[in-house]
Symmetry: C2
Subunit: 216 residues, 2 copies
């Protein structure tokens, strides 16, 4: 087992990949990106080679410390346990529970319902409405929860795993033309986070596989 640099299998536009890229940036972990294009060649995640790495045929996957981990939150929790500085989970168990509740609300309650493979099943004419409904349902709940947990960020005043889920999900909402005016807390926190360097360097518009016309 070689140590070497961690390798992130990523797609510039994947919101789950972006979560992990933010964690890697915040923790100053040097890594290599191998782009997996979810559209090209019918989806490079379906190649035999990639399936051996992640049988779920999804990005992200992180090769690190001699093992390969799939599922963005499992990757972030692993990074937190093995590279604890700066922390992405508060020390207080109740606050940690709030961070994980918000993260899971997005990762299980919103994102899976509006991801590429589900939208394909739903059919082209229904895609936009379907995605908007899923996001609005989740954001309504999230806006309420944040009103009791948030400080400057999702839980208090320190950036946490919940924030790593929030920003990419808001970007998806904008892509699906969701009206964000009913969500002032979500919008405020999103804006504060986008001002931070780790959220900028990890942004879909600045990845090795970002097409030239989408770069910024």
């Amino acid at each position: 087992m070689q140590a070497g640099k961690p390798i992130l299998y990523s797609y510039f536009r994947s919101s789950c990949s972006w979560r992990v890229r933010i964690a890697l940036a915040l923790k100053s972990i040097d890594y290599e990106t191998i782009p997996i294009n979810l559209i090209k060649d019918g989806g490079q995640q379906f190649s035999e080679e990639f399936q051996k790495l992640n049988p779920m045929k999804q990005v992200p996957a992180l090769k690190i410390d001699g093992t390969t981990i799939g599922q963005s939150l499992a990757i972030i929790e692993y990074l937190e346990e093995t590279r604890p500085t700066p922390r992405l989970l508060p020390q207080d168990p109740k606050k940690r529970a709030h961070v994980r509740m918000i993260s899971d609300l997005i990762a299980s309650g919103i994102q899976p319902l509006q991801n590429l493979s589900v939208l394909k099943e739903v059919g082209q004419e229904n895609q936009l409405t379907w995605a908007q409904e899923a996001i609005n349902f989740g954001f309504n709940a999230l806006e309420h929860i944040l009103q009791t947990t948030a400080g400057k960020y999702c839980v208090g005043n320190e950036v946490s795993m919940a924030d790593l889920c929030l920003v990419p999900q808001v970007a998806n909402a904008e892509r699906f033309k969701v009206d964000l005016t009913p969500y002032p807390t979500i919008s405020r926190i999103n804006k504060s986070l986008l001002a931070l360097e780790a959220f900028q360097v990890s942004h879909p518009c600045r990845q090795p596989d970002t097409p030239p016309e989408l770069r910024a």
Copy 2:
């Protein structure tokens, strides 16, 4: 803030509620159940009273130690941090990552695509096929992953959070008439787990809100 007994808002048939019931049983935590019937009265999870507790309008939610936590995995991680015995996450960080990867695969990659509210959207004539596709897609991946992580249970020989996700998901698969013969590892582990008392007392057929005709 009163301490008192934890209160679990649960529905007998909800696979996410069952995950938490297994954790509570394994850790011998005494609790009270308040049933939330997801069908009756157009869905009791939509009542104003319940929405205040869990704005996601979903079960489970656990009132404990003066706070309320939604999202089953966030609840289980909280119980693990505050009531660590017996452990539901191994000590080794890589094995912990494997447990979380499997848990997230089920909790984000399978369950949300075949839950009640999505199946309603999909329409009655397509429900069964839709649910079967989602479960088969996830189980194909899971079967491969388990071939490298499993011992007696999902990760090695100790019961972990991954097992708490597996058994309720297999029950859903059976309810949706998924053919389990392509998944011998999943089936073997499921059978071993169902022999354990904590998986039996928490079973949907033995809850306070289980209808008489489904009791066993």
